[in-house]
């Protein structure tokens, strides 16, 4: 029942959020200098008058502004993201065939960052002030300060160019393998992109988990747990972790949007065939409909992730959402 409540609370927010993203997209198109139709056409046909006239008609650009907004939102509602004028295909299908690759990259990266980051952060907090704490916090600070794309390039230099143990780009080898060898091949291609994406976010979780654990350790109920004779391991597992993990989960929900940005960078470094790489290619070709579509679809992924984090939070802390 609690999850039904979560879903019901989420639906209107999700709807509003997506409508707002739609408005933002519309504003971005209108903000461009010059004729919005010429912007949408990009390099593919800005000089072709008939082509521009067709875009005008499609988007109702000759109608009053209010009508234009509604036309645009109505099209978004049925997932009509317009045409990619570069590839002459609907943006929605171009994007959706790329979504699985992006999920394959971002979901493991986020999980790795949360699990390793939170564990290291908690460890640092329980050893606050010792060399272990200093080592973990220093490493976290170092990774926090390193540009994501640079980590990727260095990994390629090290593991592909010097050591020649990992493939430098793409999602699979040129010679297609099937079955188990095929899966292993993809996994091999996955290691460096996931790692470079995860390191930065891991650093964030170390900081958050450390601060949260230190805060929880100082509370009264922890002292009570010790006082009633629980060992420090038991106290940590039963009383501290559950509370210290909450901020990390909340953060994960907020970070999915950032992660999509990281995916654009990492996918273009490793030529990973996801929606981030698609956005980068579209950027190079000034195919704005595609970038706007990627922005909309990534936002939709954020909205879904928010529901998931809400449910996870309710699982960890039953008090949430009770009132």
């Amino acid at each position: 029942m609690r999850f039904v409540a979560a879903l019901l609370a989420w639906l209107p927010r999700a709807f509003l959020m997506l409508a707002a993203i739609g408005l933002l997209n519309f504003a971005l198109i209108r903000m461009a200098p010059g004729d919005p139709a010429a912007v949408l056409a990009g390099e593919s046909g800005a000089s072709d008058e008939q082509f521009i006239a067709a875009i005008h008609r499609d988007y109702g650009l000759d109608r009053p502004l209010r009508e234009q907004v509604f036309t645009y939102l109505r099209r978004l509602a049925v997932l009509d993201l317009g045409m990619s004028y570069r590839t002459q295909r609907p943006v929605a299908s171009v994007i959706f065939e790329r979504v699985p690759a992006t999920l394959l990259l971002t979901v493991p990266a986020l999980l790795l960052a949360i699990i390793v980051g939170t564990s290291l952060g908690t460890l640092a907090a329980t050893r606050a002030g010792t060399w272990k704490d200093t080592l973990i916090t220093s490493m976290a600070m170092l990774f926090y300060a390193t540009p994501v794309f640079w980590v990727g390039l260095l990994l390629i230099l090290l593991f592909s160019v010097s050591l020649e143990v990992l493939p430098p780009f793409g999602m699979a080898s040129f010679i297609k393998k099937t079955g188990m060898p095929g899966v292993l091949d993809v996994l091999q291609h996955l290691i460096m992109p996931v790692l470079s994406l995860a390191l930065f976010y891991m650093a964030v979780y170390v900081r958050v988990a450390r601060a949260a654990t230190i805060e929880v350790l100082g509370r009264g109920f922890v002292r009570t747990a010790y006082a009633k004779g629980l060992s420090s391991r038991q106290t940590l597992r039963r009383h501290v972790l559950r509370n210290a993990v909450l901020p990390s989960v909340t953060l994960a929900g907020l970070q999915v949007g950032q992660l999509m940005g990281g995916a654009v960078i990492i996918e273009s470094v490793f030529a990973w065939p996801g929606i981030g790489r698609l956005a980068f290619d579209a950027l190079m070709q000034r195919d704005y409909n595609v970038i706007l579509g990627v922005f909309f679809v990534s936002s939709a992924m954020v909205v879904v992730a928010n529901l998931l984090t809400d449910i996870v939070l309710r699982l960890i802390d039953p008090r949430i959402g009770r009132n």
């Binding site: 903000m31 002030g129 390039l153 805060e215 704005y288 936002s299």
Partner: protein, 278 residues
Amino acid sequence: MQRPALGGLRSWRFAIGAGALLLIALAAVFAPVLAPFDPWEIVGGQLQAPGAKHVLGTDMLGRDVMSGIIYGARVSLVIGLISTACSVAIGVLIGSLAGYFGGFVDRVLMRFTEFFQVIPSFLFVVLLVAIMTPSMTSIVIGIALVIWPPVARLVRSEFMTLRQREFVEAARVAGLSHGRIMMAEIMPNALPPVIAVASLMVATSILTEASLSFLGLADPNMISWGYMIGAARTVFRQAWWLSVFPGLSLLVTVLAVTLLADVIGDRHNPTLRAMAGG
């Protein structure tokens, strides 16, 4: 729990962070004097490894990498400072209105803030800068528009607690206008924690600019570290120095800013410091 000499540790972090930033700032200001060549000019052979004439080597066109690194400090520092200043202005405005007035105003403004907190912000900046065409101005606007939410939340919570304090009541009884109470009475008390958050935002801005210019969204008139790495991507396997040195410069700059931000953060969060055993 052990009690380390955190005071000593802190001054050490401060010294390193401030020292490094000072050097970078000097490089930025005196770039024309310090740089051996014009960073855009072809002054040597193509792809020369680091050596006597070109300390950090040359790029695929024969431009001096060292000079690019020195001039590149300008973009990072300027973008870092100006975007942060702009975003603090946005965050303080929204946060103070929400925290001071509460109720409906608060709900609307917080929904707005939440929206900007969860959208894929980097993609938004990419779109914005691409559509407005890349320049220092569009990059600053783009970054400032996405990094303000933490400031707004912080200022809001400060205002919510401070507006109930006696000195604010006194000012209200004395008949001061809302504007005066917000600006002259509450603001000075609400700002210190904002400084801690803002200093970390400088780091975020620098990293965001680097990613933008790495993707090709750089101001065409200013050389930047991210641009150097991005432009050399096709040859980075043969010429490691083209990505390693600009990347190191970014790392050192952001690390210096983060160290300073941490020291400032510790000073404004005495409870956490106390609990950390310092």
